[in-house]
């Protein structure tokens, strides 16, 4: 088990290293940083001095190594807009984004999973069809459309809630609902199909044949098995906690990481873009790691395979 854990950790580190390398390559491909920062008609001596100051006159591999060491030390460069460290600028925004994505995540779980289970247990009945129609609507409508519809109803027509900004908790309600609804719809579908798959398994019939009441067949035998595929999709959702709200933050003018990304891209503020990229990669990798751990906890078959060094 420890060996397995170490191998997963090593893989996670390698993934991050690959992302860092990718960021480096993209940065170099996007043009000569000296010319990007200095104006095109700057005197050649000034450009040379800039290159020397930033190490841009060194061989590429040396630049790469240096860059790698810097990233490892948490030095991700300065924002070109205000000269502050990029990491500081991005980290300031993370709590803002989490203020939306965490409640939305809870909403996805609390609505999506029970809805999926309910639909599966009532397969092909009206309750199932209705749940699935709502679910399909929930994840086919793009989030910006849903956001606008919600704004139209609750902000413009009813005037109950603000349409944008981040002054109070009331400002968070509409963006959270927008994020939560589509996620809940996806999760409901996943949970439903996972449950249907499990309910068709011979051990479910065998558990009923044993004399267990249906409710206990569902809770003790079906749910633990249906959790295995459902955890995968929940893992994706955890992975998108930091940067999964780009569109919604933009629509609701919410000052989170997503909006920062949009602004940084349009300003070519590469240090910021790169920092966000790394942050997203880190959360994805961490989420994957957590999912892997959960799999082992839920599914004894995997545990055995891993103990055997698989």
């Amino acid at each position: 088990m420890l060996r397995y854990l170490l191998s997963r950790l090593l893989r996670a580190v390698l993934t991050i290293a690959a992302v860092v390398t990718f960021a480096f390559v993209v940065l170099r491909l996007s043009g000569d940083p000296a010319l990007l920062i200095m104006s095109v008609d700057a005197p050649p001596e000034a450009v040379e001095a800039f290159r020397a100051a930033w190490g841009l006159d060194r061989p590429v591999w040396e630049q790469y190594l240096r860059y790698f060491v810097q990233v490892a030390q948490g030095n991700l460069g300065q924002s070109m807009r205000d000269g502050r460290p990029a990491l500081t600028v991005v980290m300031e925004r993370v709590p803002e984004t989490l203020a939306l994505t965490l409640p939305a995540f809870a909403m996805k779980l609390l609505i999506g999973i029970p809805a999926g289970i309910y639909a599966a247990l009532n397969r092909n009945r009206l309750a199932d069809r209705l749940t699935m129609v709502i679910s399909v609507a929930g994840f086919t409508v793009p989030s910006f459309v849903l956001a606008l519809i919600l704004v139209l109803i609750f902000a413009v027509n009813l005037g109950w809630l603000p349409s944008g900004g981040a002054e109070s908790w009331r400002h968070a309600i509409l963006p959270v609902i927008t994020l939560g609804l589509s996620g809940a719809a996806i999760l409901a579908r996943f949970t439903r199909s996972a449950m249907l798959e499990v309910l068709g398994q011979p051990y479910i019939r065998a558990a009923s044949a044993k004399g267990l009441p249906w409710r206990r067949v569902v809770t003790d035998h079906a749910l633990p098995n249906a959790a295995i595929p459902t955890v995968t999709i929940i893992g994706f959702m955890v992975g998108s906690l930091v940067a999964g709200a780009v569109v919604v933050e933009s629509v609701f003018s919410w000052p989170g990481v997503g909006r920062l990304l949009v602004v940084a891209v349009s300003n070519r503020d590469l240090a910021i873009v790169q920092t966000i990229l790394l942050l997203v990669a880190m959360t994805m990798v961490c989420a994957n790691l957590i999912v892997d751990m959960l799999y082992g906890w839920i599914d004894p078959r995997l545990r055995t395979a891993r103990a055997a060094g698989g």
């Binding site: 092909n124 398994q201 011979p202 051990y203 019939r205 065998a206 558990a207 009923s208 044949a209 044993k210 004399g211 267990l212 009441p213 249906w214 003790d220 035998h221 633990p224 098995n225 839920i298 599914d299 004894p300 078959r301 055995t304």
Partner: protein
């Protein structure tokens, strides 16, 4: 001696959404206490459906008609609570594929303990001790170490032993063994069947052995019923059914088996295939494949005839075995 379980006119219809499809066309069968009854037929003939219907395990799309009396209590249309009290406690069932009939995420000790808690109110140390005794009884070596294993850590034969232990947990009056050895190796098959026979005699437990394997049924049952397309077509004591079958389908099944003694001969397959439940002929369902069929056979479903006491066949032209297919096949 009254019957422990008496099925009469048992029907099952499946609601396919568009229409009802009849899978079971009125099955009459009874099982006495301690008796071993074999139920033989090809896949899809309704062997498993019959007993799943008895226990109400066919799900919401099945409509069940007729009557099932368990010690005089009607099970068809009985409330779920009544059925739940019967399942595992009075009538237990084991299935074809033991590995997938056990829950992969629970330890086997827990799965057996669940049945003990349910039917005998045993929990904690008492349940653990009884689980050990049961595992030991069904021949699992080093049972104490196996208790905390998961099904995937056991072989197919051991999983079937665990299933049997689980079935025994409720001390049932009747055990339905639905193709219990089909998924197992031949040597393990014999062991499992021997174990079932032993347990049955020790506990005076009745058993219904569902199988498509005539040999398995011949060796392990007192009485045998042959099913075809959702009906029983012949029923007799095992000795008589295999010695003097009268229904052409039973005879066809026997002809398809090799003889261990006697002359070498080409095995005779029954021509054609089992009709789809949606496309049953109006008369005898076997008539299209029957060497003895005549016009009357296609007109109406033949009723049962008592040929000798305890031997009945649903055939208009029952004939002694050997006079027909076998002689032709040898010639």
């Amino acid at each position: 001696m009254g019957a422990l379980v008496a099925l009469s006119g048992l029907t099952v219809d499946f609601d396919t959404g568009k229409r009802m499809v009849r899978a079971l066309h009125g099955v009459d069968l009874s099982v006495a206490r301690g008796e071993a009854v074999g139920l033989v037929g090809e896949s899809g003939s309704g062997k498993s459906v019959t007993w799943l219907a008895v226990l109400g395990l066919l799900g919401g799309r099945a409509r069940i008609g007729g009557s099932v009396l368990l010690d005089g209590t009607e099970l068809v249309g009985a409330p779920v609570r009544v059925l739940e009290a019967v399942r595992g406690k009075r009538i237990a069932m084991i299935f074809q594929d033991p590995a997938s009939s056990l829950n992969p995420v629970h330890r086997i000790g827990r799965q057996i303990g669940e049945a003990l808690a349910l039917h005998r109110g045993l929990t904690g140390a008492a349940a653990r001790a009884e689980t050990l005794r049961l595992l030991d009884r069904v021949g699992i070596p080093a049972a104490a170490r196996r208790l905390d294993d998961y099904p995937h850590q056991l072989s197919g034969g051991q999983n079937q032993r665990v299933m049997i232990a689980m079935a025994l947990a409720g001390e049932p009056d009747l055990l339905i063994a639905d193709e219990p050895t089909t998924a197992l190796d031949a040597t393990i098959q014999a062991q499992i069947l021997a174990l079932l026979g032993e347990l049955r005699r020790d506990g005076n437990m009745a058993m219904v052995l569902i199988s498509h394997d005539l040999g398995v049924v011949a060796e392990n049952c007192d009485r045998v019923a042959v099913m075809y397309a959702g009906r029983i077509v012949e029923e007799a004591s095992a000795e008589r059914l295999f010695g003097a079958p009268q229904h052409p389908y039973t005879q066809g099944l026997l002809d398809a088996l090799p003889d261990l003694d006697g002359p070498r001969r080409r095995l005779a397959a029954i021509p054609g295939t089992v009709p789809e439940p949606t496309r049953l002929p109006p008369g005898c369902a076997f008539a299209p494949r029957c060497p003895r069929a005549e016009a009357a056979c296609a007109a109406a479903v033949p009723a049962f005839r008592m040929l000798t006491p305890g031997h009945r066949a649903a055939c208009l032209k029952p004939a002694p075995y050997g006079a027909t297919v076998r002689e032709r096949a040898v010639a």
